[in-house]
């Protein structure tokens, strides 16, 4: 899973249009995300935030424009892109009939990742003891989120795509999530977080992007510098 040469750009979208049938999910997005950055994506419902993540994950094909994920073309190097990118979606992709440990094991092995980190990841996310042996059908929404997160932590992908990750988590889980994101990016990964509660992410994000109507309509630098909101038409 080691990359040939470390890419400097985690995600590069140039005038990307993505369609669902006739409908433009993304109507010309320009976005550059460097390795190690943490980018917050905001915008109203239906703006295309989730679609942007899905394009980055290689799930939605690019109709026009150029998309490069970790230096690779997601259409041409589909498998490799998917293995190096981790998407935390609204759905947790769990199998109801398997228990937590089996679900995590399967997801990690399916992604071709090392299984040695599974134990630590599960412990980190509070998935221990009886919970590990609980069938996925019996889990609450927050617990399902934790399982999906455990998979992500165990897989340790280079690009983390998080779609409203804080939704449904309690306060302690939220701060744990933030810790995990900071750790991941400190270790060289890149994180792109979609959130409707920007205050949760702003402290760790380097940039904030606003998406409206399928395009990037706002961008501002965050982190320690005070935000000066710049509208980019």
């Amino acid at each position: 899973m080691a990359p040939e040469s470390p890419p400097t750009s985690a995600l590069s979208l140039r005038d990307v249009v993505a369609l669902s049938g006739r409908f433009p999910l993304l109507a010309g997005v320009d976005l550059q995300v460097g390795v190690g950055e943490t980018v917050l994506i905001e915008g109203p419902n239906g703006a295309g935030k989730t679609s942007l993540l899905r394009v980055a994950a290689g799930l939605v094909p690019v109709a026009s424009g150029r998309a490069t994920v970790l230096g690779l073309d997601p259409a041409r190097h589909r498998t490799e892109v998917r293995r190096r990118v981790g998407l935390l979606a609204h759905a947790s992709h769990l199998y109801d009939d398997l228990n937590v440990r089996e679900n995590v094991r399967f997801a990690v092995k399916a992604a071709g990742a090392d299984t040695s980190r599974i134990e630590d990841a599960c412990e980190r996310l509070g998935l221990t003891g009886r919970l590990l042996r609980t069938g996925a059908a019996k889990l609450s929404a927050g617990q399902r989120r934790r399982v999906a997160l455990a998979v992500l932590v165990a897989r340790a992908p280079e690009l983390w795509l998080l779609d409203e990750p804080h939704a449904g988590l309690d306060a302690s889980a939220r701060s744990l999530l933030n810790e995990l994101i900071v750790e991941a990016t400190a270790g060289g990964a890149t994180a792109i977080v979609v959130s409707h509660e920007p205050e949760l992410v702003e402290s760790m994000a380097t940039r904030s992007i606003t998406i409206t109507g399928g395009r990037v309509t706002g961008e501002c630098r965050l982190n320690s510098a005070p935000a000066r909101f710049v509208h980019v038409a």
Partner: protein, 269 residues
Amino acid sequence: MTTDTSVQSPRVMWATRVIGLLALVGTGLTVWLGLWVTPPDKVQGDLVRLVYIHPGVAWVALYLAFGLAAACSLLYLWPRTRSLFWDRLAAAAVEVGVVFNVATLISGSVWGKPTWGVWWAWDARLTSTAVLLVLFLGYLALRRVPAEPEVRAKRSAFAALFAAVDVPIVHFSVLWWKTLHQGATVLNPNLSPTIHGSMAWTLLLGFVALTLAFVWMLLVRYRIGALEDFLGSGELDMALLERQSEGAGPTPEPLGTADDARAPVKASR
């Protein structure tokens, strides 16, 4: 998206009319010749007159329609030749093929009743034809599922592919299961002497007339499909263009009302 205006071009429409006319004349001529002018067979009597229709519709249904649908589906699936034109043509071929398929089964059954004594004797050829009919109907059922044209086209093309590779296997399996049908009298390599003279000409005319009928129906059905798609996509394109120019305009809008920038019916993404 392909706005296939060639279907509506005057030249094609004129050609369609001519073909239709020829088909009508040809079929009429075949019927007249078949029913009155040609002599009855020594063995089969007047029943042999079905030979002017049955092999004709069978050839169209089993080879022409099916072959065309399979070829068009492959052409759609192949990225370099992908175009909704092939998908529409395949669908039209299958629909018209169903008509000819049923005609084959009915004419075959009618022919068989006096010869075999039963309406349906599970003869190998007819049974394969019946299976093909069901495969056609499955294809059409799949097409009825509402979806975007591209998605529907891809799905149908795959279904056609899966069915197409099965047809030769079905043919042989049914053939080995039972053999009752009289050997092909015209498409047989050693051309059987049972057809000669005016009968042969009428038979040939029947083939040609029925093929023309198929082509005419195919063109008409294709046109209907293309018009349906065109109507749907044209309106949608217009609406989308308007929407996009509203939302992504140069004047920055406050985030609150940016919801209107995209089409309203959209789940949260």
